[in-house]
Amino acid sequence: MTHSRYPELSEHAFFAGLDNAAVAAIQSCARDCHYATGNWIARQGAPADDLYFIQDGRVAVVFPAPQRELTIQTLSAGDIVGWSWLMPPHEWQFDIKAVKDCSMMGIDGRSLRAKCEQDHHLGYALMKRLSRVMVDRLQATRLQLMDVYENRK
């Protein structure tokens, strides 16, 4: 069984409440990935075919502004990175860089997308979980944009 390669991941909060068949379906698309510090994991505009579960290390979500790169947020062990594989145009919206040696479980988004099309229960369950992650990130980004440490002038 493929999912036995990632026993600790069935305990990941993301999988909580999913039945064994759904967990197995997701994990059957999984592979181990390692990125050394400084390596690019994804580039804005490139085809987005992966969802990553970070097991160790840290990645930065980077906005490639002219002449400089702005780090929007960093993610570390336990976090998920990448949802562009789920929605058209299936292209990365930001650059993703390893800022501390990274071990991750990568999920092949194309296979998973196909499974979701076949099994709408799986698709809905995944959509709900990813939406929650997106909402949490959006909330955090809003707070970040408020610049709460600036003078109240």
Partner: protein
């Protein structure tokens, strides 16, 4: 503008009056970040040791300019020297930032409720600070380190605007090396030269809480950040009675007389600034209070 040591505001026969500042001598002023500095002060006239508890504040008076409330950021085990870490935001904080060693300022206090160190005994202590909010939490860290056997794990989560704005950056690294202490720093804005965490400090709460039933959290920072912190702490299993916040409002008398600092049914100078969350939850969720 600043008085010289030895000058006095009142005859020594008069009993200490909470409205009358004691003259303090500036021992040193050190720059922490571009807009934050620390004053080390010593009383020029009081004979007895000036004692404070972590979380309390003093009213600092720049003679002829005005007064403002500033938390005590120094070591609670050191007598007769008071440290204040101050962010320049306006007239008084700007004026206090231009003092030099040897100048004098007025000090009233200490005032207010402290962090409940007795409630923290035997538990994991989680501190969440945003920006200058690290200042009133620094004495907590010093107290925990001085009485290590009384507490379980100490975790310090500190957020600031950018890498240059991290308050007590060197100390955070030193504290992290102590047994049973972890500190995590994050910034809201950074370019790719910064390899640390980027994101709001509340995002660090996840996966930090190990034993929610046996954890106490002290939070200090901008009010909106504290509200998000409370939400995250609750998501991670902490009860309302395990979360303490330090609040700020404009102050004048600092002794519960004038009503300037009123926050619903509470006076922040007298009933706070440190409150257990469930005591102020209702008021914190009222708009424009």
């Amino acid at each position: 503008m600043f008085m010289k040591i030895g000058s006095d505001l009142r005859p020594s026969s008069i009993q200490p009056d909470p409205m009358c500042p004691d003259v303090h001598h500036v021992m040193s002023i050190s720059q922490e970040t571009s807009d934050i500095y620390t004053l080390k002060l010593q009383p020029t006239e009081r004979r007895e040791a000036v004692r404070f508890a972590p979380g309390q504040f003093n009213m600092l008076y720049a003679f002829g300019v005005g007064e403002c409330a500033i938390s005590i950021s120094g070591d609670p085990t050191v007598n007769n020297v008071t440290e204040h870490t101050i962010r320049r935001v306006g007239l008084v904080t700007g004026t206090l930032g231009s003092v030099r060693a040897g100048d004098s300022i007025g000090v009233r206090g200490p005032f207010g409720t402290p962090w409940p160190m007795d409630q923290a005994r035997g538990r994991d202590v989680l501190l969440i600070a945003g920006g200058i909010g690290m200042a009133p939490l620094r004495p907590v860290i010093m107290d925990v380190l001085a009485n290590r056997e009384n507490y379980k794990e100490l975790t310090i989560l500190s957020g600031s605007r950018d890498p240059e704005g991290i308050l007590f950056a060197d100390e955070l690294l030193t504290w992290k090396k102590q047994p049973g202490v972890d500190s995590k720093v994050t910034v809201d804005h950074a370019d790719s030269r910064w390899n640390g965490n980027v994101g709001v400090v509340t995002t660090l709460v996840n996966r930090t809480v190990k034993d929610p039933k046996d954890t106490i959290a002290f939070v200090c920072g901008p009010e909106i950040m504290m509200r998000y912190a409370v939400t995250e702490l609750q998501k991670n299993g902490l009860g309302k009675d395990q979360i303490y916040l330090s609040l700020e409002r404009n102050m004048k008398c600092a002794i519960g007389l004038c009503g300037h600092c009123q926050f619903g049914s509470e006076f922040i100078c007298r009933d706070g600034p440190v409150f257990r969350y469930d005591r102020i939850e209702f008021w914190l969720n009222q708009r424009e209070l």
